[in-house]
């Protein structure tokens, strides 16, 4: 669905908003409203008008007032070739870029190289029609902080580099661990049916566990986006509740209450699925959930041990 361009009256309000933004900046760097109007319009389209096409003038003014005036003007000045602005940019954010690069790299040399690549990307390796370099700075809207944006740029570049070299280096820890788990299983026969004292019972238990896991996966996939995000942040990504709350934009206590509610909601969803599709009784459900939970704990511990042993054997073979 194509969005209509703002009406002429909206341009007037936009010009006023641009003037206000310039006045808020500590250093306007000799920029005028015309210099920042295109960026302002693009930002409004991207972050406000796309989801609220009928946003009022007050809402637009409020959104523009929330933009980072100094940083946006700095970036626009850099785009226009202001050497002083470039110098200020590099002096102010050199440490931020290097710190982000260290987090995305394995060593210091790689981090320095990544940081230099970022600066090159920011400056632009291609030229625009007017002869000026076209860089990534054009994508900064002023909505978030320039430091956070730079961290995101560095992170994405780092991910791209990893993917390019992923044929040689195993980067996904989870996949690594999963493979080690399988190796460990084969070596130790943790999940082998033959090792169980009662093969039929073991098979039944495994099938029940698999049924529960499948139900869990479906219930999680059906959660609301924010609930699903919380579950994945806390359980899949291994974040602490405080960190997961920060990503969600809520306090740790709020995240805790949501998680408690989610536990009940997921349990109800799983029970409903098991009753509807597998005809389990409530007693069977509660017993099976308890057994699977206990066994998952034991399996996880054993998998950790098996994984460590497998790593040691690989080292010995080398």
């Amino acid at each position: 669905m194509r969005r209509s361009r703002p009406a002429p009256t909206d341009d007037l309000s936009l010009r006023d908003a641009a003037a206000q933004l310039l006045s808020r900046a500590a250093d306007a760097r000799s920029l005028k409203e015309d210099a920042i109007l295109p960026r302002l319009r693009a930002t409004l389209d991207k972050y406000l008008l796309r989801d609220q096409p009928e946003a009022s003038t007050q809402e637009i003014a409020k959104f523009v007032a929330s933009l980072r005036a100094d940083e946006l003007i700095l970036v626009i000045a850099c785009e226009r070739g202001d050497e002083t602005a470039w110098r200020d940019l590099m002096e102010s954010y050199r440490a931020t870029v290097l710190s982000a690069a260290r987090g995305a790299s394995a060593g210091e040399a790689e981090a320095v190289e990544l940081a230099q690549s970022v600066w090159a990307e920011l400056y632009g390796l291609r030229e625009r029609e007017d002869g000026r370099p076209a860089g990534k700075l054009a994508y900064y809207s002023g909505c978030g902080s320039l430091g956070g944006w730079l961290r995101a740029v560095v992170g994405q570049l780092g991910v791209d580099r990893h993917r390019r070299s992923s044929r040689l280096v195993q980067t996904e820890e989870d996949a690594d661990f999963d493979r080690l788990m399988n190796d460990g299983d084969h070596d130790r026969g943790v999940f082998s049916v033959e090792a169980a004292p009662d093969p039929e019972r073991a098979l039944a238990e495994r099938q029940a566990a698999e049924t529960v896991r499948a139900a869990l996966a479906r219930v999680i996939a059906g959660l609301a986006a924010e609930d699903r995000l919380l579950v994945k942040l806390y359980y899949f990504d291994g974040l602490r509740l405080r960190e997961a709350g920060a990503v969600l934009g809520v306090h740790e206590a709020t995240a805790s209450r949501r998680l408690t509610r989610l536990h009940a909601e997921i349990r109800r969803g799983v029970e409903t699925l098991l009753v509807a599709e597998h005809r389990w009784t409530p007693e069977e459900i509660s017993r099976t959930l308890a057994d699977v939970a206990a066994r998952l704990d034991a399996d996880f511990s054993q998998a950790l041990i098996a994984g460590a042993a497998s790593v040691e054997r690989r080292e010995e073979r080398r």
Partner: protein
């Protein structure tokens, strides 16, 4: 933070195998992909760009836009990881906690205030007042009675003077007969004069009664009227010296001061500069007293090299005489009643005092100790050590800083070097110190404005 939640479900979710996780992610991604393709006809990339990630992580998006990105992040591990990194670097959690604390502070204050008000109001309810009023009245009456009693007990005044030894002997001889007659003790006071007017009756003509020895209270049979005189001969070389508290009146005139009081022994410590004065008599004014030769209060005595003899006499004055409890005088402090010339002698002093028949009040000793230098509190050792101050310079993390115009300036810094301004708590600052713990230590230990040369770059941290 302790979670009170479903432990079984927590264990199930926490220990989900990767296959199950991937299945859940795939199921949700399918739904979201379909939605995003419907919304975006261009079929643009599914990942968030850097600007969207940073704006989301820093809570800088409108609610509707944020909800859209949440849906993507819930199904995209890569973008979720990047957003998490940005949120951690920006200390979003800390900002949320601060906002939460700021929002709760007024509410808590109002709650506490209302709780206090309610409690306070309950104290003044009629029922409470019904029981509290008698108790309060009892307390007030008891306090008043106690105050009156104390005032009555302190009605006796003590007069202490220091007179030369020769004069004391003369007075002793003159008043020896008078002290044998207790009735006469009720006459106007004996010859103790003060240089300053003090309450009490003073009559002239009678030799200082304080000098004469008084019979013991048992002899008179009337403890309240007994007069006792205690003499303490002191040697100048002795550790104890005596001094009077009140200035001594003109020895020539037979000035009599009626100052019933209770005396306490006045002693002097071994320290030349220390004087123990326990009581001081307040003499009633008689006439204008010329400067006295001896001073009642002697805060310091001459050196021990001179052998001197001190005498302390205590005379108990029976009732009827005004007794004034001389307040303990810290004679090591300047006393307005000290007379200069007479003090120069500081020889053969004698302290006389009148004590009431009742048991002496607890002796209070006042010692003029040399003024001790207040201990300078040592600043707590800074965590991380490696910091010392010496005058206008400090050493932190192996670098020298000097105080200059209110800022700590690295001695290695040269004015020609360009400065980069860094504000504490900013993104730049956090990035800078994240990898440089020593620089963090410099910024935290010095405080205020710091100019530091770090890796050939000059930073002004504020």
């Amino acid at each position: 933070m302790k979670l009170d939640f479903d432990k079984e479900m927590d264990a199930l979710l926490r220990n989900l195998p990767d296959a199950t996780r991937e299945r859940a992610a795939a199921a949700s991604l399918t739904n979201s992909t379909r939605r995003e393709r419907d919304e975006n006809a261009r079929g643009a990339t599914l990942h968030l760009d850097a600007d969207e990630l940073s704006a989301y992580a820093e809570n800088a998006l409108p609610a509707a836009t944020r909800a859209r990105y949440v849906a993507h992040l819930a199904d995209c591990a890569t973008c979720r990881r990047l957003a998490t990194n940005i949120a951690m670097a920006a200390d979003v959690a800390g900002a949320l906690e601060r906002n939460n604390a700021a929002e709760r502070a007024p509410a808590e204050a109002a709650t506490v205030a209302s709780g206090w008000r309610a409690r306070l109001a309950s104290f003044f309810s009629p029922r409470a007042l019904l029981y509290a009023a008698p108790v309060l009245a009892l307390l007030v009456a008891g306090t008043a009675i106690f105050t009156v009693m104390q005032t009555y007990q302190r009605g006796a005044k003590q007069f202490v003077r220091v007179i030369p030894r020769e004069q004391a002997e003369r007075e002793e001889a003159a008043t020896a007969g008078q002290l044998a007659e207790p009735d006469k003790a009720q006459e106007p006071p004996r010859a103790i004069a003060v240089s300053e007017p003090t309450p009490g009756a003073i009559s002239k003509g009678a030799p200082p009664a304080a000098v004469a020895p008084a019979p013991s209270a048992r002899q008179t049979g009337e403890p309240e009227k007994a007069e006792t005189i205690a003499r303490v001969d002191k040697n100048e070389t002795d550790a104890q010296r005596s001094s009077a508290l009140a200035p001594v009146a003109q020895p020539t005139g037979p000035e009599i001061v009626s100052l019933p009081t209770e005396t306490r022994q006045v002693q002097k410590t071994a320290d030349d500069d220390a004087v123990r004065v326990e009581d001081r008599a307040i003499a009633t004014p008689s006439t204008a007293t010329p400067p006295v030769k001896e001073t009642a209060e002697v805060t310091k005595t001459p050196g021990r090299e001179e052998a001197r003899e001190k005498r302390v006499e205590e005379v108990a004055v029976t009732g009827g005489n005004k007794v004034a409890n001389a307040a303990p005088d810290r004679t090591d402090q300047t006393d307005s009643r000290r007379s200069g010339p007479a003090d120069a002698e500081k020889q053969n002093k004698r302290v006389e005092g009148f004590t009431a028949s009742r048991p002496a009040a607890p002796k209070t000793e006042i010692k003029s100790a040399p003024i001790g230098k207040a201990r300078r509190s040592v600043p707590p050792a800074m965590s991380g050590g490696a910091s010392e101050s010496s005058g206008e310079t400090r050493s932190v993390a192996g670098r020298q800083f000097r105080r200059q115009s209110g800022a700590w300036v690295d001695t290695a810094y040269q004015a020609s070097t360009s400065l980069t301004n860094v504000t504490r708590g900013s993104e730049h600052y956090r990035a800078l110190v994240a990898d440089e713990p020593e620089l963090r230590r410099v910024a935290e230990q010095l405080g205020g404005e710091v100019i530091v040369l770090w890796k050939n770059r000059a930073y002004r941290i504020r």
